[in-house]
């Protein structure tokens, strides 16, 4: 009998405020140790926390983006434990009254195994709460001593807790990715996983169908989607093996070792802390007015899910393209700019053979959208990957790209010509029209010229024409090659095909 996998995630997202959640110290990453540790970060005697409004606004935006209830009154609580990188001896967090209540996120799952089809799923978000980050212990800093760096202490975090709604590593990764996209999309976090701005704890358990939930183990601090998938796969197999071999799963916190690909217990439930949560008397309850909430709602951009649906329903894109284009707001905005701008540059694509061909029954904007989508998810994404850049660093602006795409639409550029223009834009910048001019890439779409050219070839290759006409269809490519060569590659391929077919038919 097969096993069911049950997965829930707790994600710590660092909020993109300039200063810490309870003090004016900077949150910039990578400074010299303790240079961003002010009196509050060090927890000097007598200092007090003052809540950063920007952190609250980001939490509210997140809640609105996942359709969650925003608590009109939430409470900060102290989570008490001793550790050298926790200067106050307690972390200020939220416990029984979090700022964001139940919400949900729609995810697109691409199964990792062979031929299963992509599908959509809704993952419920239990809650999201504000808290401060701890500092860092730097072990073995000098002579076997442990150093403490409090730069990170007090950095604002939003901890986003999901329901145990996921039942495969693929779903967990899809959820984490969707969340990662969302927090960057709405501008509440830079989502930088290397710098720890987006850290995932994954709760995993297994059970036989119909049975109650199994005992879970929590994989802590995963900061890459690849590791998350590996860790879950390993952990699931470990739990199944353990049970099938007659063992029992004990609640535990575990760590994933990327070098060995294995998980390992860090501490068991027996040594779990009693955190002695209680409301922080230094902070007033956090009151959020309807007005404040609505003013923030007004600042939210069109969300990834809404845009994905729009791309499919209004622009006629495939689900696959729509997913790819909404993987980041930069990509989606780039795409939107292209679609809107190309239309302006090439106002009447009806007359062009490129758009008239192929039998698409969709409207013009759909054709345009598909062209833009192909270029963005194809050539542009490939080039970004090759150069190790993300969309925000793309050297070709959407305006530049549109200038080029417009020349495809109006038939000035052939596909190969367009690729050359794109390479030039990427490497040297500039403007498509100027590049086409200087490199002589304008394709021949003058039907008279193409007909003349084809006539010449037919006249010069009477034997091959005869063979073709007697049924050797494969020779068609030979004629195309000759014609292209004769036009120095500039003939409009579609037009050329049409003319050739027509003339060869006799």
């Amino acid at each position: 009998m097969s096993w069911e996998i049950v997965i829930g995630l707790e994600v710590h997202t660092q909020l993109s405020t300039q200063t810490k959640i309870f003090s004016g110290a900077s949150t910039t990453y990578g400074a010299e140790p303790n240079t961003q540790a002010d009196a509050v970060s060090i927890a000097l005697p007598g200092v007090l926390p003052v809540l950063n409004k920007g952190a609250v606004e980001r939490a509210i935006k997140f809640g609105l983006a996942v359709g969650a209830h925003i608590a009109p009154r939430s409470v900060f609580a102290r989570k008490n434990y001793f550790y050298p990188d926790l200067p106050k001896g307690y972390q200020i967090s939220q416990f029984d009254l979090p700022v964001v209540g139940m919400g949900a996120l729609t995810i697109q799952v691409e199964p990792l195994s062979g031929n299963a089809k992509p599908y959509e799923k809704v993952v419920r978000i239990t809650r999201a709460h504000l808290e401060e980050d701890a500092g860092k212990s730097v072990h073995g800093a000098s002579q076997g001593m442990t150093g403490v760096d409090l730069n990170r202490a007090g950095t604002p975090l939003l901890e986003i807790v999901s329901e145990p709604d996921m039942c495969s590593a693929a779903e967990a990764v899809a959820y984490a990715k969707a969340l990662h996209t969302l927090v960057r999309w709405i501008g509440i976090s830079d989502g930088n996983m290397q710098e720890g701005s987006f850290r995932c704890d994954v709760n995993v358990s297994v059970r036989k169908p119909g049975e109650p939930l199994g005992t879970r183990r929590e994989i802590k601090n995963l900061n890459s989607f690849k590791y998350m998938q590996q860790a879950i796969d390993y952990e699931v197999q470990w739990q199944i093996d353990t049970i099938e071999n007659g063992g029992k799963i004990h609640q535990a916190t575990i760590l994933f070792n990327p070098d060995t690909g294995e998980t390992r217990a860090m501490r068991s439930k027996e040594d779990a802390h009693d955190y002695r949560y209680f409301p922080d008397p230094d902070l007033l309850p956090l009151d959020i007015s309807e007005e404040w909430k609505e003013s923030l709602r007004a600042t939210l951009p069109e969300l990834p899910e809404a845009r994905r649906v729009r791309y499919v329903n209004e622009l006629g894109l495939s689900a696959y393209d729509a997913n790819n284009l909404t993987s980041s707001r930069e990509m989606a905005d780039y795409f939107d700019t292209c679609v809107n701008t190309v239309g302006v540059h090439a106002p009447s694509p009806q007359s062009s053979p490129a758009s008239g061909r192929g039998g698409e029954r969709g409207n013009q904007s759909s054709i345009l959208a598909k062209l833009c989508a192909n270029w963005l998810t194809g050539e542009l994404s490939a080039q970004l990957n090759r150069d190790g850049l993300d969309m925000a660093q793309c050297p070709v602006t959407a305006q530049q790209m549109s200038g080029m795409l417009a020349r495809i639409v109006d038939n000035t550029l052939s596909n190969s010509g367009a690729k050359e223009v794109f390479r030039t834009l990427w490497a040297e910048g500039g403007e498509a029209d100027a590049i086409i001019e200087s490199k002589g890439l304008k394709q021949v779409s003058d039907s008279g010229a193409i007909e003349a050219l084809v006539d010449e070839i037919i006249a010069a290759n009477a034997d091959k024409v005869a063979e073709y006409r007697s049924g050797k269809d494969k020779l068609f490519g030979f004629f195309v090659g000759l014609a292209m060569k004769a036009s120095k590659g500039k003939a409009n391929p579609a037009q050329l095909n049409d003319v050739l077919k027509q003339k060869l038919a006799g």
Partner: protein, 482 residues
């Protein structure tokens, strides 16, 4: 000069009858002579104080003086003052030099006052006799065998012994009012949120409130004018317009309704204290006030509720004293846990450890609801008692402390007996109300008796008026132990 009021000192300074440097030196000399007996100060820094005095003299010469410019004020050693050792009465911070000023210290600096030194106190303000200080007990100037009360015992002793012009204190469960009563001085704990807690080392954050300790209600009003004001660095600081607390001092008391909680005049109150309070109330009737019997039915719950909530907050507030970044660290330890345990075991005194343990217990899983949550509920009931009472009266009066000053060591073995000495003051902190103590005579052992005045929220000006009118009619406040 040492018996002059703040107002008189201000006049003398502005009239150049004395300079701030001379006045400061006068007090420094008195401290040098008497502090070995009273132990009211933990730290004196003559050079710094005299430099401040010289700066104040410049202001005075330029005619830029405010009410307290040039006047030497003693600061409770719970307030961080930049460059000053700030110990909070603990071995844990015995060598801690504060790198910043508390809001209260800033306010006095802005007013041009002189910081005369840091006064002794119960360790982390936990105590009612000043016997828990790591720096030794403070003596009561009226009888050096007796305690001065606590936790602001050093401040009360210094004011009574004329070792400063006035002092600051803090009050979590009576720590301004009880020592004021036991040392025969005036002290007021304002409404919670009136004085910023920024830079004041936390004991129980939801109860802690700073206030003045001085020789008269009028002096308290002048001090309060300096100490209060909104501070954005304390989220519990209240955003209100700045008040002049002297504005109502001279209003007549005709028609004043004084509420007398029957629970304050019951079992446990010493007869001599009861008599002095009754005499004071008779005086108030002469001044035109009427007496109304009221009830604060949950009074008996105040001490137990307090000893759940205050230790709970303290157990968390004191976690930062872990030997990692500053403060005491045990000289020898084997690993991290051992370093924590030894540093805290050696750095904290017995009473502090007792309260950390109580607080940790009541917040623990399985006990939180029964203790902490229950106590919070009763806290609201206690506050409601006062709200109801103020429907019938303008101020509430009663004894500040059930007895006069007891002798050192007398209650040392019985923490509960010690806790009960705050039985009349604690409810005021739980409700966040302003409370005051003024001297109203002497007990059988010739030690001072304090009259407590409790006001409604933000009614400090009225309370000071009520106290001042009494002090115009009597002279208990100007009696000196020397």
């Amino acid at each position: 000069m040492i018996n002059a009021t703040l107002k008189q000192l201000g006049v003398a300074l502005r009239a150049k009858q004395i300079s701030s440097v001379e006045l400061t030196q006068l007090y420094l000399d008195r401290i040098a002579t008497h502090n070995p007996v009273y132990n009211a100060y933990i730290t004196v820094n003559a050079k710094t104080s005299l430099a401040q005095a010289a700066a104040a003299d410049t202001l005075l010469a330029a005619g830029d003086a405010q009410a307290l410019t040039g006047i030497p004020i003693a600061q409770k050693d719970i307030f961080c003052a930049q460059g000053w050792r700030t110990t909070c009465g603990s071995k844990m911070l015995a060598d801690f030099i504060a790198p910043y000023d508390a809001h209260v210290i800033e306010q006095f600096n802005r007013a041009g006052a002189v910081n005369l030194g840091k006064t002794n106190m119960d360790e982390f303000a936990m105590g009612s006799s000043n016997e828990t200080s790591y720096f030794g007990p403070v003596r009561n100037p009226w009888n050096p065998k007796a305690v001065p009360g606590g936790s602001s015992g050093g401040a009360a002793s210094a004011v009574a012994a004329r070792l400063c012009a006035a002092a600051t204190g803090t009050d979590t469960g009576g720590s301004i009012r009880q020592p004021a009563a036991l040392c025969g001085i005036s002290g007021i704990k304002p409404t919670y949120g009136t004085v910023s807690r920024y830079g004041m080392i936390a004991f129980a954050s939801s109860l802690d409130q700073a206030g003045p300790m001085a020789r008269s209600a009028e002096d308290c009003a002048l001090m309060l004018n300096v100490m209060t004001g909104f501070d954005e660095r304390d989220s519990t600081s209240l955003q209100r317009d700045k008040e002049d607390y002297t504005r109502d001092l001279n209003k007549p008391l005709t028609g004043l309704r004084i509420g007398l909680p029957k629970e304050f005049f019951a079992e446990g109150l010493s007869a001599d204290v009861g008599s002095r309070v009754a005499e004071a109330l008779a005086e108030y009737r002469k001044l035109g006030a009427t007496l109304v019997e009221i009830s604060l039915p949950n009074t008996r719950l105040a001490v137990p509720v307090y000893y759940v909530l205050a230790p709970a907050e303290a157990s968390s507030n004191l976690s930062r004293f872990d030997g990692v970044r500053y403060g005491y660290r045990a000289p020898e330890y084997t690993d991290l846990a051992d370093m924590y345990e030894k540093s805290r075991a050696q750095g904290f005194g017995e009473e502090v450890k007792r309260r950390i343990m109580i607080g940790t217990y009541v917040l623990s899983h399985g006990y939180y609801d029964a203790y902490y949550l229950q106590a919070q509920k009763i806290r609201r009931l206690i506050a409601q008692d006062f709200t109801d009472a103020f429907e019938q009266c303008d101020v509430i009066m009663g004894p500040t402390s059930p007895s006069t000053a007891f002798n050192l060591g007398e209650k040392g073995d019985d923490p509960v007996q010690m806790y009960l000495s705050d039985i009349y003051t604690i409810a005021v902190n739980l409700a966040g109300l302003p409370g005051m103590s003024i001297p109203c005579g002497f007990g059988d052992n010739t030690m001072p008796v304090g009259l407590q005045i409790i006001g409604n929220y933000f009614d400090e000006a009225r309370m000071l008026n009520v106290a001042h009118q009494y002090q115009l009619a009597t002279d208990w406040h100007s009696r000196a132990p020397l």
